[in-house]
Symmetry: D2
């Protein structure tokens, strides 16, 4: 299959974070054929450090679905319920550097547009999974990861070792941290992460996005005591009041002298009859900071608010981290290498050295891990004209960007 065919097949079969079984198995099969050494599932991510993992039932259902939809069973078995793949191959005499390429593979929980305005629908590769969609281009990223392997194989490689990181669960910042907690990054000299789109047109390459916001996502559940709201409201311990007090006070966490901070509550849920004092109310919170300490400040204050809101209404609160990202800076050397490769790549019309990354990214953990061990890293943007914004129902990518990305990344690997 061409990269475009791979991308379209993945687009049609989107899998949310920690359920990317079909995606990972298909990639594993090709790389196995290409003599990569495969580390799958618990060999690719630190299982105990995973965040925001779905229930066992959801995972089992996803494995079943992958099997039904043609994922090679051998790799599914090796994954044993855990997604993630690190694939390694030594080229030449292996005396050169170890170069990592990280791509993320998960889809989003959103319904894709099904009308003819939307090319995937029109051309028959729209999502076959209701409520799931590749609305952030990770289908393309996955294809690019395969493409880099193909390109190096076909061009005779380079003198060094290639490590491909197919990271699960980037959405929500759930997979980067546990992937960074393995030994696979210990010997990586240079790391390249890549993202399509990000507002740039096809032909533009950004050699080094950096300074994303740090981010933490917190799930909270208030547990109180139910009561009949008409007969004896005093006998309840009202999780609903705790929830409301928490929401209001979370947004009121003081702004910080040192830079930008953010807080948001995206989800609340409590579902009782109208005459029942709620014993259970849930919420999902996100905080951000321009720096890791600012993010910590927000997270600490958010926990303080949640605890006090529970106390105020006689409830307990259970919190768990759903996801997290940190910030990073890119290395000049890497930016230069990418620029060099991009200027030589077909289809590239504009190269920009650096741009601030507006959102959050959990490649940050892999990048920092490499840098802490003395390596260098960058986060490459490859323009891909989009008809609609990331994370929307009409998101799509210009598939010409796939070849450009492979050219730029493989070219950079050869340069390093």
């Amino acid at each position: 299959m061409s990269l475009r065919e791979i991308r379209r097949d993945l687009h049609r079969h989107p899998e949310e974070g920690w359920t990317e079984f079909r995606t990972t198995a298909l990639v594993a099969a090709e790389l196995d054929d290409r003599d990569f050494t495969l580390h799958l599932g618990a060999d690719a991510v630190a299982v105990e450090d995973r965040l925001g993992v779905p229930s066992d039932d959801e995972v089992a259902a996803a494995v079943d679905r992958a099997r039904r939809e043609g994922a090679p069973g051998a790799y599914l078995d090796r994954m044993d319920g855990v997604t993630g793949l690190v694939a390694t191959k030594r080229y030449g005499d292996g005396s050169g550097p170890v170069v990592g390429v990280r791509v993320d593979v998960d889809a989003l929980a959103r319904q894709e547009a099904t009308d003819d305005e939307h090319r995937p629908a029109r051309e028959g590769f729209g999502s076959a999974h209701p409520g799931e969609m590749h609305a952030c281009g990770h289908d393309g990223h996955t294809a690019i990861g395969v493409g880099v392997a193909r390109a190096l194989d076909e061009s005779g490689g380079f003198d060094g070792t290639l490590k491909l990181f197919f990271q699960p669960a980037e959405e929500g910042g759930r997979g980067g941290y546990p992937m960074s907690r393995t030994a696979h990054l210990d010997d990586v000299d240079h790391l390249l992460a890549v993202h399509l789109g990000l507002g740039e047109e096809t032909g533009t390459v950004v050699a080094g996005y950096d300074r994303p916001l740090s981010n933490a996502k917190l799930d909270a559940r208030f547990v109180g005591e139910p009561a009949h709201a008409g007969v004896a409201p005093n006998e309840g311990r009202n999780a609903m009041q705790a929830l409301a007090t928490a929401v209001s006070n979370l947004y009121a966490i003081p702004r910080h002298a040192d830079g930008r901070t953010r807080v948001n509550v995206g989800m609340v849920a409590a579902d009782n009859a109208q005459n029942v004092v709620s014993e259970d109310a849930q919420m999902r919170v996100e905080v951000r900071g321009e720096t890791a300490p600012l993010n910590e400040y927000m997270l600490d204050r958010a926990r303080q608010v949640l605890d006090a809101a529970a106390d105020m209404h006689g409830c307990e609160v259970e919190t768990s981290l759903y996801g997290k990202t940190t910030t990073f800076e890119t290395d000049d050397e890497m930016v230069a290498a990418v620029r060099h490769a991009a200027e030589a790549a077909e289809g590239v019309t504009t190269v920009r050295d650096r741009l601030p990354f507006g959102g959050s990214e959990d490649a940050s953990y892999l990048i920092r891990r490499v840098q802490e061990a003395g390596g260098t890293a960058t986060y490459v943007g490859v323009g891909a004209s989009n008809p609609a914004g990331h994370h929307t129902a009409y998101f799509d990518i210009d598939e010409a960007s796939l070849a450009i990305a492979v050219d730029v990344l493989a070219g950079t690997v050869r340069t390093l």
Copy 2:
């Protein structure tokens, strides 16, 4: 089928408010056989005054289910998507009074217990409908309604007209009001409503519960403007903040000099990713008052809070009444008649004249309508030893109470 068998069949096939198609059709079939004149669906309730009606899809699915589960199609067709039944029969020369008996027929949205502790599960008549349960005894009430018809038919009736009101959607206070807005109550001289259980053991009869709290249930939906919470929180109009502000301030509506008031928020729902400023957030509110004016006070203040909470965060708020009840007093004459009948009924060990009704009841609208036209009414409690409280997963009734209730009610009808 015996009343007990009817009750068990209904218990196994619970139907929530406005979807009681099978229940109503089965009752209609028997009363048709017994030569009652039937008023079904839009002939039994004022369609435009119905509150808290499910979506068309839900109604259609309920009709289908009823058909699959053996409801006679002719009556389903006559209902045409609207539940409710008023059945009338003239006994003797019809020179006597018109006596109404009102029973409610709907089930609750709750999962029934399935373990052997619970008799319906143990004996095989537990709910076959996941998430629905007869947890307030309306299966019994429906059987009692049929039982009264049987009793009067078999005993040679009485000199007058019997009107049986099989009211839908009592839960939430949704069906009483629209049933009270028909002409069927115009000529009712005496009205009897009945409830099993209510904390009394089998053998006890309460001749006149009265003074329930007035009650209103309000659905509210805040509509704002979404935004990326990390990139541009200021561009949103945050429905989540509006919701939280509303909840906190609803509970803070001032207490009232004139008596008891209540307020509760039972449900909240907003479901966005953590990084999205909510454009949509919903809640379900209930207010109560010891009197109708106190209930109005609470409802007015609740609307004021909802409006201001929306304004505060630049949102709109849409509200709709989900249900309502009012208060009532019972008539001495009716209490005396019930006492008289109860003292003669087999199995009755204790008769109490009056007790305050702690909760809310939409039989109130039927009762007041009869009283306003010069008739009299009462609300009869028939003890039924329960292993667990009303509205809980282990609720069940002592079926010996069914015969007692029929005796008391039919006896009262004959007395009047």
Copy 3:
């Protein structure tokens, strides 16, 4: 001086709670002349149990003012900074019962009207103390206490012991509790408390008000950490946010199944420049309950809210009880005795046995203390046509009520 002259002299020199030095000294002087045994200051109230006591400076200033305004220095010295007087006298052979009469003596913190509409202003006995006013008739109560002594002396007394309790600081519920914690009530067989007005016209006597609301007044002070709100808001711990969160949540304390509850915040104060995160914010809260346990429920929940509001914003909260009252019931025997005396008293046109006492009263502590020791008590209302409501700037009393009250109380004492 006549009782009317006494009342007018006191009206002109109102003294707030715990500063009633002139009032107490003048009463002490007359009762000393009449051979009462005097217990003053720390001999009349349990000093360590006093609530809501002004600062030492305020007390010292009040003593100085009393001295300047003609209070006999000997009694001021004996009080030693503490107001309160219990005066005892044995009549006859002392074989009869010990009868207590309790009157309260303090004024309110409010500015009296100074225009000619207001009789005290017009006739020259308006308050000479800016911001203080006898707006609840305690000037009359004090005069009545003296009047009872005079009446018994002049009529040859009765066979028993009279104990007059001149209680300080009734306003706010601050003096009743510490006066009840002395041994003076141990041997009281019958206790009479009295209040003028309360909405009744001159000529009406209410033999037994009872069932006041229990009440507690709580002062709270949030202590945080200041910061420059523009430069580094995160460095503050914001007492202002704690205060606001507390106020909102206090009003939202759940209503109670068992009866009426109340909560109010009457005062808030924080006074920083606009650009300073508040380190200090104060509030005054009041809770009430229909019964003592309901009051405790409200007080417990209020403390819970205050603590959590402080925690939420990283502050400390200091609370102190400003005042408290409890509830009581009057004894039939005493009601009958008052009715008997009232029916014989000149000027009495109507006698009512019992009325519910709408507000709160700290005579409750003295009454309960007597009842707990086996004695009986009542709280007598003596009508006194008022041109304006209690606690308002135009409050005044019909002075004809003074003689009626003395007649009723002295008559009751002789009856017992």
Copy 4:
């Protein structure tokens, strides 16, 4: 008097914003002697545009105090209750530029330290006005304004016109705007504003502070309806609840994509008895933005919150602007001129071109007015080693900074 003596005399007689009568009159007297043309009071500020003006009584009391404390009556009379002075003098043939120097003259509402740790107390020039203090160095600024006049007079001036702006009420941002709304700035070619201290040691000069936050101060008063909180809380419209809701929601105004924003409530006041539902509650709010539009965003949202908080509790809210500032940038030409002069000035050890101004400044209005008309401006910082921070009770300045400031400013004037 030497500049140091002037500064100490002013330090001893601090006057808050819009009450700087003595200060202004003394300056006017010296400049009159020096043949400056004086514009006083309503001739110096646009009276109708003044913000945060004290009551007539407070102003009258301040005039009286100034008179008692030796202010020359002729100038007090000319001021006619309005402070502010613009003094103009033409030097040489007047063909050169018009150069403005703006100093602020007001003191702060804070109690000065009185112990010997504090030099003003130790050396006898501590504040003689309880609760007022020169805690931001404006006493020094005023002296510097006089010093510039002296320096130019004594050195033979320069070829051009000097305009000295003695601005009232800088604290709170109340005097800059109305002074900017006069014609005096129309012909100013270059404007110099000056501030001592700001964290820099004596010897350092900052040639151009810029980019202060924009700022607005809003006073709000909630007006409701009182009620007895125990008897009939429902009859009130609770200004206290409105206040608390407003405070909580003000801090929760969303952060903004475009830069720093701030919000703070520094003062709240409501003073009722504990049992009274508040009819009146006041607050003082401040908002800031990194740019003028960000400040407007915050101000708009703050008003929205205040309005909705009032609506929520059935109250009205009255708001008035207490003060405001805007932001500005300094001109390169002016920064260069100051650097030039500073390098030549005695005692200057370090010159820095630019620093961001952390707080807010209403010189901003004067600066922008000059720039809008085509002129240039800068805001000069003159280091002055402080023992304690600005706005604290122990604030003091190293008086050696006065001569440095005069040298730098007069030198710059001559340079331009």
